[in-house]
Symmetry: C2
Subunit: 158 residues, 2 copies
């Protein structure tokens, strides 16, 4: 059995719980996505701290993004990001052709609408990891075709 199963199950439970507890308060879905993103953010910060403990300094921004695609992704999802693209102006697109947290979902249109629930936590994770490496960003995700997922990272310059 693959190790990621525990994470997948726990993630599913967490998503269900966040939506259930919010429902009681009759608050809107964007609040739930923000809660999940916040949880991911803090986990991303913690994980990257451990992961980069013995890593020499990064050369540049692209070097950091490559580390996210390779080391962080492998640590969480047991595979690397399949494709990394950039416009060299602070936008990066990370494509995972088989995103683990979507593989349990049906690919029917009804479920596709549910996809954001299962992406918010990971968006937060990437954002938290980058933040701990000194990069402020916004991270969004879209599903071009199930179970692929594109994460778009936009660097916020201060």
């Amino acid at each position: 059995m693959a190790d990621e199963t525990l994470f997948e199950f726990l993630h599913m439970e967490m998503v269900a719980h966040v939506y259930k507890s919010q429902k009681q308060d009759e608050q809107e879905p964007t609040k739930c996505l923000a809660v999940l993103e916040g949880m991911g953010f803090r986990v991303g910060q913690g994980l990257i701290e451990r992961l980069t403990k013995d890593t020499p300094t990064f050369k540049d921004e692209l070097d950091i993004l490559k580390f996210i695609c390779k080391d962080l992704w492998t640590n969480i999802f047991k595979k690397q990001i399949d494709n990394l693209r950039t416009n060299h102006q602070g936008t990066y697109v990370l494509q995972d052709n088989r995103f683990h947290l979507l593989t349990q979902l049906s690919s029917s249109k009804q479920y596709l609408e549910e996809a954001p629930k299962f992406l918010a936590y990971t968006c937060g994770l990437v954002k938290g990891a980058l933040s701990n490496l000194g990069i402020n960003s916004t991270v969004t995700a879209e599903v071009p075709i199930m179970p692929a997922c594109k994460f778009q990272v936009m660097i916020l310059r201060t």
Copy 2:
């Protein structure tokens, strides 16, 4: 970096979220423990189903408990239960001398009082796993000395 870190971080976030979302509703702490136990229960059911897929039938109850101590524990915590005891009348005590979900906590008395928060999910996990193998039980936990943990399983005969 050890793989269990992702699980540990996620678990911490989950505990914090459950307590935070309950606080808003001004409900009592036992409700939070029940929520965490319920999440663990469903994850335990799912995990044991995957883990026992290729396992031949179990000889008896003790055989099942040994599987929990060895295979399930290793899958989740990367180590086995250190000690399994039974009174041969349906009570089993599983002792983990270094329980991962407690190792991040300080061992001061103040934190010891917080320990149940970090055990409820795992109690549910064990209960869910046993339930899926046809055994109804109650599972409680206590901390003899940090970071050791004793899980007491009482089989409910019908």
